[in-house]
Structure formats: C-alpha cells, structure tokens
C-alpha cells in the first residue's frame, strides 16, 4: 500500500490544481511523439505525424493529450486507491491497445518536464520528488493488469 504524508497530499493537489489540462495535455503528448518517435506506432489513425510542426498542430494529438491528462484527475482524487482506480484502464491498454508499458514511464517523464517548464522554480526538488512519486504509482497501476 502506498503511503502519503499530509504534505505529499497537499503538494499533489496543489500541483494538479495549477495544471491547465487543455494546455499541458496536448504539449505533453506532442512532446512524447516528437522526442520518442517510436511511440507514434500507436497513433496510425491520427493523420499527419510526419514532422514536429505537424504533430504540434495536429488536432487529434491535442484532443488525445487532453483525454490522457484528464484521466489523471481520478488518481489525484483517489490517492489511496490508485491501483483499483486504473484496473480497467490497465486492462484496456494491455488487451485492446497493446501499449508497451514502458511508454507510461516515457509519458510520465515528459509530463514532469512540461510541468517543470511551466512552473519554473516553483517546481522545487521536494515538489518534484512528490510529483514523480505520484506518477510512478500511476505508472505501476496502469501496468498492473499486464500478463
């Protein structure tokens, strides 16, 4: 069972509260697709992903970025039951979407970098530690139904 201190709970809620999902979501997914181009394999139906500018301007990428980031809300609101919260989503990613779970770590790292870029020095080491702990729990939960 993951244990969260009061300070960690406050930090996660505070960081999440400041994240503009409509901006950060699209930026993060676009960054993943550009920095780790092999991840494009999962988005064959998204149209033009042939260049960084195409990816950054692609509306399907933007929409899906919002979808993915919005899904984090469930975890923020349910810190003591993240594994259960994402049980179905994990099965979906394994059985239907066939996503290599290593990609969850890539997305988490890119999200951290985008958040750090947006927050600047407010994203201090302690905040980064708590945020990354939170994301690693999310990543583990999404990987938990892979067999």
């Amino acid at each position: 069972m993951v244990e969260w201190s009061d300070s960690e709970r406050n930090t996660i809620a505070s960081v999440w509260g400041k994240i503009n999902v409509d901006e950060i979501g699209p930026q993060t997914l676009a960054r993943v697709l550009i920095v780790y181009p092999w991840t494009q394999r999962y988005f064959g139906s998204f149209g033009n992903l042939s260049s960084a500018s195409a990816i950054l301007g692609n509306p399907k990428v933007a929409n899906h970025g919002k979808t993915v980031l919005n899904a984090l809300d469930k975890a923020v609101k349910n810190l003591d039951g993240i594994k259960g919260t994402y049980s179905e989503l994990s099965q979906l990613h394994c059985d239907k979407l066939n996503v290599d779970p290593d990609n969850f770590r890539l997305l988490a790292d890119c999200l951290t970098i985008v958040v750090a870029t947006a927050f600047g020095s407010a994203f201090n080491p302690a905040v980064q530690a708590t945020w990354q702990k939170f994301l690693s729990v999310v990543v583990a939960a999404l990987s938990s139904r892979y067999f």
Binding site: T117, A118, G120, P125
Partner: protein
C-alpha cells in the same frame, strides 16, 4: 540512435545559451537527483550534506557540468573523448550505468525550468539523444 548533424547543431546552440548557468544547472540537477531518486545517495555516503544547495552538491554539480561541457566540445567522438572518464567510472567509481539516465532526466528538467523558451520538443529530442550517447560513451569501459 547516433547523433545527426542537426542534433549536434541543436546541442551546441543550446549549450551556448545555457553554459553561463552551467554551475547552477549542475548543482540543481544533482540536488534533484538525490532527492527524487534516493537510491542514488548510496554513491555519496561519504558527504556530510546531501541536501539540494549544500556545499558538496554545489561543488560536484560544477564538476559534472564541466564534464558535460567537455563532452559537447567532443561531440564528434564521444567514445574517444570520454575514454578516461569512462575508465574512472568503470574501475574506480563503479556507478551502475542505469543512473546516467536518471541524472540526464534531472538535467533536462532543470534546463526546461531555467530556459523554457529555448527547449522546444525538437531540441529536447536532440539533447535526450546527446545524453544517451554520452551515457553510452561513459559505459564503454565497464566490461
């Protein structure tokens, strides 16, 4: 994933912008690594203070970024250029190479924080590749 001419140009251009703050970047990145990935503290048990901003962290952050600067100047032959550093890490320091990725992540986080306008996705990709190649060159002598 070897470095293209475009990657090398992007890394050099970014380095020119950020090198005046190299010491700060190094100290910040190292402090974050020790805080966010506590297992990395095992390599620095001989320091009296491992907290972000401490004397030893600042000093060693400077050393690390000095080596990164050197690597940028030797970007056309990282394996050759970093041979003695690789020897040091392999036989004396014996740092598990998985940790190079961890430090690189934290350097990238700090670059993004301090230079938000200079770190679009394409530059991020080239820098990520550079650190990956740097890590490979550093691991060269391990076995």
């Amino acid at each position: 994933m070897s470095l293209s001419d475009k990657d090398k140009a992007a890394v050099k251009a970014l380095w020119a912008k950020i090198s005046p703050k190299a010491d700060d970047i190094g100290a910040e990145a190292l402090g974050r690594m020790l805080t966010v990935y506590p297992q990395t503290k095992t390599y620095f048990a001989h320091w009296d203070d491992l907290s972000p901003g401490s004397g030893p962290v600042k000093k060693h952050g400077k050393v690390i970024m000095g080596a990164v600067a050197d690597a940028v100047s030797k970007i056309d032959d990282l394996v050759g250029g970093l041979a003695s550093l690789s020897e040091l890490h392999a036989s004396k320091l014996r740092v598990d190479p998985a940790n190079f990725k961890i430090l690189a992540h934290n350097v990238i986080v700090v670059i993004g924080m301090l230079f938000p306008g200079d770190f679009p996705p394409e530059v991020h990709m080239s820098v990520d590749k550079f650190f990956q190649n740097l890590a490979l060159a550093l691991s060269e002598k391990y076995r």
